[in-house]
């Protein structure tokens, strides 16, 4: 199997100028690889650096040093730690998707449109995109009267379902997903897990953060345990 991501000696330090250039070390010497089509679970206590690592890979955070080579669909490599902004944007549009813990949606856009945005961007016709969105909402049990409402007014669990629907429907090659099943009931949790497994079966690689044992056991092929910003041990599941 080909590797999709090779992270080597990644360090991340925040310098807070407002607090007299105080330095906070968040990640220390992180190295790991991910195979194509693999699900890697990131585990560790709150504050261990899981989300920081994920945001570095997505380049929302700028790594302090180290490299993160991603193999793109066309077989070429891109080092996400210092790739030109345009290359990262192009990658986000076509191959790499980040589904954060909380929904960040443009205000005043109906749930249906938020979710089908990724499909429309790939040139799928509006009706077909909406059909897939409806199908996804149905499976995740999002009440129909919310489909054309603005997600900013939704409850935590409803927002979560919009967020995960958007990520799954865009069918990325590489998905970064932070707590996809938190604040969901058992049945919906199961539906999300099934959808992520289906995505994996279609070839998607997933980097997963979850505190939920059940979600972790059903999804991850392998775990990376973080403690104080460093990898403690890599565990086969």
């Amino acid at each position: 199997m080909a590797k999709i991501l090779e992270v080597a000696n990644l360090h991340k330090e925040f310098t807070l100028f407002i607090l007299g250039a105080k330095k906070i070390r968040a990640l220390e010497n992180i190295s790991f690889d991910m195979e194509e089509g693999e699900i890697v679970g990131l585990t560790g206590k709150s504050g261990a650096g899981k989300s920081t690592l994920m945001k570095c890979v997505y380049r929302t955070y700028l790594p302090t040093s180290g490299s993160m080579r991603m193999r793109r669909a066309d077989g070429t490599f891109l080092d996400l730690s210092d790739a030109p902004e345009h290359e990262v944007l192009a990658l986000r549009r076509t191959e790499m998707r980040y589904c954060s813990q909380f929904l960040h949606a443009i205000p005043r856009v109906p749930a249906m449109e938020v979710v089908s945005e990724g499909l429309l961007a790939r040139g799928i016709a509006r009706e077909e995109a909406f059909r897939q969105a409806r199908d996804c909402f149905e499976r995740l049990g999002l009440p129909e009267e919310l489909w054309d409402a603005y997600p900013s007014t939704f409850s935590g669990g409803e927002q979560q379902r919009v967020n995960i629907s958007r990520a799954i429907l865009s069918q990325p090659r590489f998905l970064l997903v932070d707590e996809p099943t938190a604040s969901l009931d058992l049945k919906t949790k199961g539906a999300v897990i099934d959808m992520l497994l289906k995505l994996k079966a279609s070839g998607t690689s997933i980097l997963l953060i979850t505190h939920d044992e059940h979600t972790l056991n059903r999804l991850s092929d392998r775990c990376l345990h973080l403690e104080n910003g460093a990898v403690r041990n890599a565990v086969e599941v």
Binding site: T15, R59, L62, P84, E85, H86, V88, I106, P107
Partner: protein
């Protein structure tokens, strides 16, 4: 294979500089964020912006943030030929396949570029609209400049644009002075996009509007961008506007770029002390 990505720009700006007054030999070195001033201590010249480099890609929305006086508006005004640049190059793919510095072209060619290939929406509607003309007349002016003389076509296009920007078409024959601030901005946007330009500049277009009107104008800009893929440069001191509209952001201070990056990175992991201050000041 497609051409390498870094050659795919629509607009390439290098070394763009605007100095008011007579600069001395050290004017550039003695000004900027590290000196906390844009006034040269030796010559008294004012460096509005200096050594600005960036590329804008097709379909991209680039944000420019900074406090008042940081040079944000100067930057877009130089590119729209409202003021002459002191130095620098701006290559525009739509003009001579990107080989000519558009800043040094003849006035006639600059006028052509402004009328056919660019649009500008100013903070103050009085800068972008003629208040002696009607709303329809203002749009007609831009169409006439680009060589559309058929009165029916002009009327049709003006109707279409006003509908698109949700200005009541019944008011097409009124002057903008009788319109609300939000409506004036929407007429200005109609005028700016009248000839389907590939590049539009927005200079603090929502400042001074109340929040509900601001939201409608921002939604309109976003919708136009999604539907037509226009490249945009959005100048704003409001990080909320930048977050909502832009893909990449440039941070200006005392006329220099202190930081640039993906917009989410600038907002969540700002590297420069000044950007950190800006982000932490966000309500």
């Amino acid at each position: 294979m497609s051409q390498p990505q870094d050659q795919n720009w629509l607009l390439r700006v290098r070394g763009l500089t605007k100095i008011h007054g007579d600069p001395g030999h050290n004017t550039i070195e003695l000004t900027g964020p590290e000196h906390a001033t844009n006034i040269c201590p030796e010559s008294g010249a004012i460096v509005a912006i200096a050594n600005i480099d960036f590329d804008l890609y097709p379909g991209e929305v680039l944000g420019i943030v900074g406090e008042s006086g940081s040079g944000k508006s100067t930057l877009v005004q130089l590119l729209y030929f409202d003021q002459p640049a002191t130095h620098g190059r701006a290559l525009f793919r739509e003009v001579d396949e990107g080989r000519s510095n558009i800043l040094t072209l003849s006035n006639q060619r600059k006028r052509f570029i402004k009328n056919h290939l660019m649009g500008m929406v100013y903070q103050n509607p009085r800068d972008g609209l003629n208040f002696n003309f009607t709303a329809g007349g203002n749009i007609a002016e831009k169409l006439l400049m680009a060589g559309t003389f058929h009165i029916g076509k002009i009327r049709g296009r003006a109707n279409y644009l006003l509908t698109q920007t949700e200005v009541p078409v019944q008011r097409i024959d009124e002057t903008p002075s009788s319109f609300s601030g939000g409506m004036q901005q929407r007429v200005q946007i109609s005028k700016a996009i009248a000839n389907n330009p590939p590049l539009v500049f927005f200079d603090e277009v929502t400042s001074g509007l109340d929040v509900s009107v601001q939201a409608k104008v921002l939604d309109l800009i976003r919708r136009l961008q999604q539907e037509s893929g226009i490249s945009m440069i959005v100048v704003s001191h409001d990080l909320g506007v930048i977050r909502m509209l832009t893909d990449r952001t440039i941070v200006l201070k005392h006329g220099r770029i202190v930081e640039h990056g993906l917009t989410d990175q600038i907002l969540q992991d700002p590297q420069h002390a000044y950007t950190q201050l800006l982000v932490s000041s966000l309500l």
